[in-house]
Symmetry: C2
Subunit: 126 residues, 2 copies
């Protein structure tokens, strides 16, 4: 931990970490980007399936987010013209796999944070 601490401070001092994180947040920050990507990690989905999978998102916002994610190379939009009505499948690109470490780190942290909150709540109630 001590070693890590020195490590992270060095990176911060050099402003590299600051810029890198800012850049990451710019691209995958926001309320919906990661939840959408996670939903697609599990399985490629069509528009309305995706809408149902990402709890609380509206069609309008989902549509905008998908355009953004596609423009940034995270997802691919596959259209099946032969279906009637036409169906569209959204799937992750290979590049999205590079986000796995980030997603898992966030997931791990979120999980232990939730546990900490529950413990704190119990403490108050007793």
């Amino acid at each position: 931990m001590e070693q890590n601490c020195i490590d992270i401070r060095d990176q911060i001092m050099s402003q590299k970490l600051v810029k890198s994180v800012a850049d990451a947040l710019y691209v995958i920050g926001g309320k919906w980007k990661l939840p959408i990507i996670i939903a697609l990690f599990a399985q490629s989905k069509r528009f309305n399936d995706l809408k149902r999978a990402v709890e609380g998102i509206s069609a309008r916002v989902l549509s905008n987010e998908l355009k953004d994610l596609e423009a940034n190379g995270f997802i691919k939009r596959r259209v099946y013209e032969e279906d009637t009505p036409v169906s569209v499948l959204y799937e992750l690109t290979e590049y999205s796999n590079s986000l796995e470490e980030v997603v898992l780190a966030l997931g791990n942290w979120g999980e232990s944070h939730l546990l900490k909150l529950k413990a704190a709540l119990k403490e108050v109630q007793s």
Copy 2:
């Protein structure tokens, strides 16, 4: 990678990862939370130092974010009444150290993403 892939899908299927990431984003998501925490990782700072360190943030927003971060146990506000004018030092709590993995993961990803963008840009220009 293949093993990891199965691993991450299992977690997603169980909805655990989805909820954990959503929880994490709820607490440390947003434009400024992590940049502020990173700035304090390097060194504890006073209000205006912090404002200068976090590029682009306004006093109003910084003030709000700090209250939020303090309420969630990430930072501690240390007041030095004996100084004139009174000075206030913001420092990370022990709990913030748990974010190191998340910060480093985001930093690593952001850095390689930036490199990829630069490479792509060069490709276009040539």
